[in-house]
């Protein structure tokens, strides 16, 4: 079953005074099935982040259609979009985006509080999750008191606590050292193994090699894709790396 279906997606930015038109996405089409772990790769400026913004409903496309869990994002009103985002999507950002003003615990609770979940239920959801993510001891601390890896685990906890259909991750390892990155990727793999659908934008080959499928974007369109099949992480890493070299040397898939 498709959880995400993107067809003919196009996004054109116009500079402030109407001068230059920048085509960030030209024609993107792909689907994500339930339970997949998809990595989106591409060079800087290839439109990865724009794509993520459109998928999250944070920005409106110029043309094209996004079907998320059977709902067309373009038909949902702004106010409903927030609720939609809250219920179906979880976010993990490169710079964590935790709120300084809230304790770790409250940061994780935030989406539940927004959704108006009962207090007892909130607690019941947090406890096993905190244990699984290894943040039980951090709950009463504030974000500025914990390390980057810990912050990212808190962000993951916040993303998954509502049981979203899809987790959108934007360079989640970008601000982490290699140990913390490994840990986070293991966590993603674990979530994936439990059936969580994840879409991750990254330019780290290492991060991408943990996914079950990798999409390559170039010049605003999906240029190529790789399935893991039965490969180990190392073999998959090799394949991705080769594809990227091909991309960089201008091999043409078109």
């Amino acid at each position: 079953m498709h959880i995400l279906e993107v067809t003919g997606l196009k996004k054109v930015y116009t500079t402030r005074f109407g001068g230059n038109r920048v085509e960030a996405l030209r024609d993107v089409r792909f689907t994500v099935d339930s339970g997949e772990f998809v990595a989106v790769m591409g060079e800087s400026g290839s439109g990865k982040t724009t794509l993520l913004h459109l998928l999250a409903g944070l920005d409106r496309p110029t043309a094209g259609r996004i079907l998320l869990d059977g709902n067309d994002l373009s038909t949902i009103k702004d106010a409903a979009l927030a609720a939609f985002r809250r219920e179906r999507l979880g976010f993990v950002f490169q710079d964590f985006n935790l709120l300084d003003t809230l304790t770790v615990e409250d940061n994780v609770y935030l989406p539940l509080v927004l959704a108006g979940t009962a207090r007892r239920e909130q607690r019941a959801l947090l406890e096993p999750l905190a244990k699984r993510l290894g943040i039980s001891d951090l709950l009463q601390k504030y974000p500025y008191e914990i390390s980057g890896g810990q912050k990212q685990r808190v962000a993951v906890a916040r993303a998954v606590i509502t049981g979203p259909k899809l987790i959108l991750a934007d360079e989640p390892t970008g601000a982490l050292d290699s140990r913390a990155s490994d840990e986070l990727l293991r966590l993603f793999a674990e979530l994936h193994a439990q059936g969580q659908t994840i879409l991750m934008v990254t330019h780290s080959i290492k991060a991408a090699s943990t996914a079950s499928r990798v999409l390559f974007i170039r010049d605003g369109a999906v240029f190529h894709q790789l399935y893991r099949g039965g490969d180990t992480n190392e073999q998959f890493y090799q394949k991705i790396s080769e594809t990227l070299t091909l991309l960089a040397t201008g091999g043409d898939g078109r």
Binding site: A56, D78, D100, D106
Partner: protein
């Protein structure tokens, strides 16, 4: 070369943070302007000749001192936002290898620029506005304004010096923080929340204790003349108490709210409480500042408005009848027969002028002011003019013949020669007048004495003591002439008699201002002729109510104008704080609301959160200010007595009206600043 670099870095930092720096500079400029205006008005020429000029100047001076103190608190508060912001940058410079001395230099340049800009602009605006204010005052109160764009060098110097010291302290405070923090903690300082102050409960208790002492002081003041100094003490205590109470109570409140079960139930509460807790100390300080300013606005407006709108009341109190005639007599011309003759003459003159005197009352009396201590009244100039004069023991004594007392009260009291009746107000002597063996002596224990047969806790209604700033005691003697004997020898430094017997008479003629004035002139001419002078009428003084109406309105209008002016100054300061608070917190909160939007918060929820947060911030100070005002009520009432004003219910009504009007103005400011905050916060780019 190197100096140039630091200067450039400082200017660069200011430019880059201009969203925070501009409101800060605006706030500094505003405080400088207001401080200068107050200092200028306290010494301005337009006040000269206003009755109570000295009291007004003292009050303006005190107002200036309070505003000065206040600007220290306020600018330290606003500066805290800036420092937080700049610390991150300084941390970065530190990381790039700049040593602490160099960071200090950048900070010094920055402070210097801020000082020059705000004091320069503030003084320019201040000079302009103060001139306008003085012109207005001169027009209303009829005084003379200074010439074209007068500048008060004293006020300029004082303003410059106070703010120079203030900015030096601000620099030292910033330097202390940059100097003693590690580079890493500097870098992180913007995201770190405030820690609750140690011994929070102790501070809270201290704050409440200070408030209680201040309230007690305000309630216990008996004498309005000594009240001015105590009032200042009470104001200082209230400021300190408000700060401590609000800071510690906002910390306690945040803790309590976070523990409550409903904290997680509503997103508005969740977000607003957590961000209030995050900057709880700054929040408390901001609330306290607004609260104090609100109190000052309410006190000044309500008291001066009462005076102005109660002018008719004050006029009626000061002049119970339309015409009042006062004659000063020699002691031997003050007998019963002479008094009867004076009354007859007066009635005859009034009738000749074509009027029928109505409600006529007349009595003889002699008054003196002296210090009372257990039965002895010291009237010698040395005691009364002593520099360390105790106003609390100062009384006005009126000697009244028994016959006139009986006529006034309708009683038939009798007294033996040498005896006396002593009348007082219960408010002045709750336990009666303390005497020694029932005797009241003047000058010394061996001086002229009266044996007090009875004390009465009531002054006769016909006796007009309103407008006398000290408590009045009435000494009723059986024979006026005999009572005056011996007292006549009391003299002041230049040998003038202190105890002057007089005869006074009041009545209505039910005629306009011109007729009243004409009658006054006629009576004055009649009693000032040669025959009267030789028969012992040494001076004659006439007053009419309607002739005084214009000057009363002039005086009270002038005071009201000053009060409104002061309130505008205080209100501007309050608006500045609110605005600054909203703007600076808005910029701090902007990324947070962006994150919350990403997580799935709707714009409507954001709006609700903001409203919730602002509601607490806005109405807590208003409530506390009203409480302060309620406790200041008695003391202000007594201060108003200095201006012939004694109408508590009317004052209460005006005060209540002022609170309502202020609440409305405050509500408008609330809407405007909350919109400013909302625009800043929701302007956040929707970026993950």
């Amino acid at each position: 070369m190197k100096t140039g670099l630091y200067m450039r870095l400082a200017l660069d930092g200011m430019r880059k943070n201009k969203r925070l720096y501009l409101p800060y500079l605006l706030a500094c400029t505003g405080m400088v302007t207001m401080y200068y205006i107050l200092r200028f008005l306290a010494g301005c020429r337009a006040l000269a000749g206003l009755p109570g000029e000295q009291a007004i100047r003292t009050t303006l001076g005190l107002g200036g001192a309070i505003l000065g103190l206040f600007s220290y608190l306020f600018l330290f508060y606003t500066n805290a936002f800036l420092i937080r912001r700049r610390k991150k940058e300084f941390g970065l410079y530190g990381m790039l290898g700049m040593d602490r001395r160099s960071l200090g230099r950048i900070l010094a340049w920055e402070t210097l620029f801020a000082f020059l800009l705000s004091v320069g602009a503030g003084l320019c605006v201040g000079v302009l506005l103060s001139h306008l204010a003085e012109l207005g005052l001169a027009r209303i109160a009829g005084g003379a304004a200074s010439g074209f764009l007068s500048v008060a060098p004293g006020a300029l110097r004082l303003t410059f010096a106070s703010f120079a010291v203030l900015f030096l302290l601000l620099f030292l405070n910033g330097w202390r923080q940059v100097r003693f923090q590690s580079v890493v903690s500097l870098l992180q300082s913007e995201s770190a929340g405030e820690k609750p102050p140690k011994a929070n409960y102790l501070l809270g208790a201290l704050g409440i204790a200070l408030l209680l002492v201040a309230y007690y002081l305000a309630g216990s003041i008996r004498n309005p003349l000594s009240a001015i100094n105590l009032f200042f003490v009470a104001v200082l205590l209230v400021i300190a108490g408000t700060y401590l109470t609000l800071i510690s109570s906002s910390v306690a409140l945040c803790r309590l709210l976070k523990k409550s079960r409903r904290y997680y139930a509503r997103v508005t509460r969740f977000v607003s409480v957590s961000s209030m807790a995050w900057r709880m100390k700054r929040n408390g300080a901001g609330l306290a500042a607004v609260c104090i300013l609100a109190t000052m606005v309410l006190v000044t407006v309500s008291s001066t408005a009462s005076l102005y709108f109660g002018t008719e009341n004050a006029l009626a109190a000061r002049f119970p009848r339309e015409i009042s005639l006062e004659l000063t007599l020699d002691a031997d011309a003050a007998g019963d027969e002479a008094a009867d003759k004076l009354l007859e003459e007066t009635e005859r003159e009034v009738r000749r002028a074509g009027f029928e005197p109505q409600g006529l009352s007349a009595f003889r009396g002699a008054s003196i002011t002296g210090l009372l201590s257990t039965g002895v009244v010291r009237t010698d100039p040395f005691s009364v003019n002593a520099p360390a004069l105790q106003y609390d023991n100062l009384y006005s004594f009126i000697l009244l013949p028994l016959r006139d007392y009986n006529a006034m009260t309708g009683e038939a009291a009798t007294l033996a020669p040498g005896e006396a009746l002593l009348c007082y107000r219960t408010a002045d002597f709750p336990n009666g007048v303390p005497l020694e063996n029932g005797r009241l002596c003047f000058q010394s224990e061996t001086g002229p004495r009266f044996s007090v047969r009875e004390q009465r806790a009531e002054l006769p209604a016909g006796l007009n003591t309103k407008g006398v700033p000290v408590a009045t005691l009435l000494l009723v003697v059986p024979d006026f002439g005999a009572g005056l004997q011996g007292l006549e020898t009391l003299a002041d430094a230049s040998g003038d008699r202190l105890f002057e017997p007089g005869w006074s008479c009041q009545f209505d003629i039910r005629a306009g201002q011109e007729a009243q004035a004409a009658l006054c002139d006629r009576l004055a001419a009649h009693f000032s002729d040669e025959a009267h002078i030789t028969s012992g009428v040494t001076a004659c003084n006439t007053e009419s109510r309607d002739e005084n109406r214009a000057s009363f309105y002039g005086i009270y209008g002038g005071l009201f104008y000053l009060g409104v002016l002061l309130s505008i100054v205080f209100l501007c300061a309050a608006v500045l704080i609110l605005y600054y608070k909203q703007i600076s917190e808005g910029y701090e909160d902007q990324p947070r609301f962006a994150i919350m939007q990403n997580v799935g918060m709707t714009k409507r929820e954001i709006r609700a959160c903001i409203n919730r947060q602002l509601l607490t911030v806005f109405f807590l100070p208003l409530l506390l200010a009203t409480l302060h005002l309620a406790f200041a009520f008695p003391i202000i009432r007594k201060l108003l007595l200095l201006f012939n004003y004694d109408n508590a219910p009317f004052f209460a009504a005006v005060t209540a009206l002022c609170v309502v009007v202020f609440a409305l103005v405050y509500g408008v400011v609330y809407r405007i600043t909350s919109n400013a905050y909302y625009h800043i916060v929701s302007d956040a780019k929707e970026q993950p």
